[in-house]
Amino acid sequence: MSVGTALDTLGRLESEAIHIFREVAGEFDRPVILFSGGKDSTLLLHLAVKAFWPAPVPFPLLHVDTGHNFQEVIDFRDRTVEKYNLRLEVASVQDYIDDGRLQERPDGTRNPLQTVPLLDAITTHKFDAVFGGGRRDEERARAKERIFSLRNAFGQWEPRRQRPELWNLYNGRHRPGEHVRVFPLSNWTELDVWHYIAREGIELPSIYYAHQREVYLRDGMWLAEGPWGGPREGEQLVSKTVRYRTVGDGSCTGAVESDAADIEAVIAEVAASRLTERGATRADDRLSEAAMEDRKREGYF
């Protein structure tokens, strides 16, 4: 096989992500990959495997578990960890609620509650580089994010004091207690992600594809029945053919009505969609005009 021509878009994105993984492996002591079993983190792990092949991925995984997960996703997570023979750390929001360190929010969503267990896990394990699957096309505040993003000892993002990021020379220097969030998928769009998943034949949790599910309508979103409370009084369970565009906390991640049962159909659907993936299915981003920025400043991804 010979490749003498210019890389196509996916080839260029893949090469850039591999370069970023290797930079971190070369410069940091204790990196970790945030892994939820969602499509972005699954793609992230796939790229990490490629970056170090034929050696194993030199990083453990960290899952911040809200306790409100889809069982299909947890099963997928565990299968993937076993397949690549990796170490998985779990930071559990439920533990924090059970022993009183965190309080359940009145609206029941646990996404914002992930920040404290995440930062505690980073401190406990002395992680100095934390890979995330964030993409700049997701949201306006994310568009401002560097590929190497320095966080202070409180995990905070300070957008006005970001380091300039020049060429492909990444500066990973940090002081004790600080860490760097690393986003190898920064330059990917949602469609790039799906095209690459198709090209590489990457397995995803089944809930990304159309299936029959009991759901109820709340604030214009189809939510699934689960331990997160619902349906409430006046909310009617109905059976629908749906799929998920993002996989997050079950209390605030909505399903979309869809017949897209395989990857080609999903790509066609995403390409034609007039809604962003977060706008369509993430209640937590609707809280205010700057919801994402505010959470990132607190240490959220």
Partner: protein
């Protein structure tokens, strides 16, 4: 034709840059309904009757509050002809460093001016920064053309002045294009305007879709900074030792003779590996793993090269764009990150300074402050293999890092990447004529 164009925008505050970017996204239908709804809502909340397209891109709370862009943001949009990565950089003087950030990877720069004001200091400064960083092509968007009654004479005057400035900075004339636009009204951004019948050139989007993109330098000498040594030590791969990295320039083939720098050790390429199987050759931009015929001592930070070898030296001349509030003074001890190697270094001499405010240069200044550009001499604790930036944007670039807090202090470019201008030695005057700005490129003593 390349399917991707990386571009950077630049312009003064209030030239309407965010609106232009918003307009590009809006008119190419790159904005989805829910995002648009949010902008409509936020515009209405501010008492506006039409949607404020700048709200599509100003992502930070304080940006929206002040109505200015603070930090560089990256946008992605596509048309059937091409995909675009747009580095949207702020125009405010105190954030010029972000223009440097955006320009470092751009293949084209879009500069904005207000048609009522024409070419101003900031325009010349940004064009100089784009020239310095080796951005191959420029577009001048003469915005708010509606506010000068779509006047052809005004546009021609601005276009002529800008072309003169850009060519003086070294841009070939065919690499510079001026377009009359109104970002607010949508004239000549995506849709052709019927109010500028005297303009026969492309709309901004048409130009972006068709402008030639310089490919990665595949025929340049081969350069490969070693990022990481892959040693599985598994039962399946007990003796595997691969040097992982991204080809920075040129092409490598199985059987090629290579030199490892700075050690000077030589070997041949036995295998080019990837997770998808071995390759016969790899070119600039590809991330691969090289296996060599000999067991050499090679580590992260080394550079594998072939062909016309880079200079291995512990002293070199460079141009630096100073990006930190803490000023540079001669004798400063810093770290230099070049490729995958970080070395201790001393800035032994500050030879001249280009004053961003005055658009003039000063010989032997005492210091270099935020957003200033100067020529320096650098001495490194160990030899580094460097190319001139004008020959190679990857192996000619380096970061200057503060050893104490790790912050990035400067963008460094080996050599003097701007062309020399005849008859302009140095200039100490204040003014803001185009002539003054030429002092930027005056050679050092």
């Amino acid at each position: 034709m390349s399917d991707l164009l990386r571009l950077a925008t630049a312009g003064s505050v209030d030239d309407g840059k965010s609106t232009l970017v918003g307009r590009l996204l809006y008119d190419t239908k790159s904005v989805l309904a829910d995002t648009l709804d949010a902008v409509h809502r936020a515009s209405a909340d501010r008492g506006l009757t039409t949607p404020d397209l700048s709200l599509l891109v100003d992502g930070l709370r304080s940006e929206r509050e002040q109505g200015i862009t603070i930090d560089v943001a990256y946008r992605y949009f596509a048309t059937p002809k091409r995909s675009f990565v747009l580095a949207d950089t702020p125009g405010h003087v105190q954030y010029t460093r972000n223009t440097v950030t955006g320009a470092s990877t751009a293949q084209l720069g879009v500069l904005l001016v207000d048609a009522r004001k024409g070419v101003v200091e900031q325009t010349r400064r940004h064009a100089a920064v784009l020239a310095l960083l080796g951005v191959p092509r420029l577009v001048l968007a003469v915005n708010k053309i509606d506010l000068v009654d779509y006047d052809e004479v005004t546009f021609s005057r601005i276009a002529k002045e800008f072309t003169a400035h850009a060519t003086a900075l070294g841009f070939p004339e065919d690499a510079v294009v001026e377009i009359p636009v109104s970002a607010l009204a949508g004239d000549n951004v995506v849709e052709r305007s019927d109010k500028t019948p005297w303009y026969s050139g492309p709309t901004l989007l048409e130009h972006l879709e068709t402008v030639p993109v310089e490919p990665d330098p595949h025929d340049a000498p081969f350069r490969f900074p070693v990022q990481y040594v892959i040693r599985p030590r598994t039962a399946e791969y007990p003796d595997y030792r691969g040097y992982a990295g991204q080809v920075a320039a040129g092409t490598v083939r199985v059987g090629d003779e290579i030199t490892v720098l700075p050690s000077g050790l030589r070997s041949t390429v036995e295998k080019i590996d990837t997770a998808d199987g071995p390759l016969e050759e790899a070119a600039a931009g590809q991330s691969v793993t090289l296996l060599l015929a000999h067991d050499l001592d090679i580590a992260r930070g080394d550079l594998i090269a072939s062909g016309d070898a880079p200079k291995v030296t512990d002293e070199f001349e460079a141009t630096v764009c100073w990006l930190a509030e803490k000023a540079l003074t001669p004798g400063a001890r810093v770290l230099v990150k070049h490729g995958t190697r970080t070395v201790q270094a001393i800035v032994t001499e500050l030879r001249n300074r280009f004053d961003e405010q005055k658009l003039a240069s000063t010989e032997s200044p005492g210091s270099l402050g935020l957003n200033e550009i100067g020529q320096v001499s650098v001495r490194t604790a160990e030899p580094v293999p460097v190319d001139d930036y004008s020959r190679n944007r990857r192996t000619g670039a380096f970061l200057v890092i503060d050893a104490s807090d790790g912050s990035t202090l400067a963008a460094g470019l080996v050599g003097a990447p701007l062309p020399e201008l005849d008859g302009v030695d140095s200039c100490t005057g204040g003014g803001n004529s185009a002539q003054d700005s030429h002092a930027l490129v005056s050679p050092g003593p």
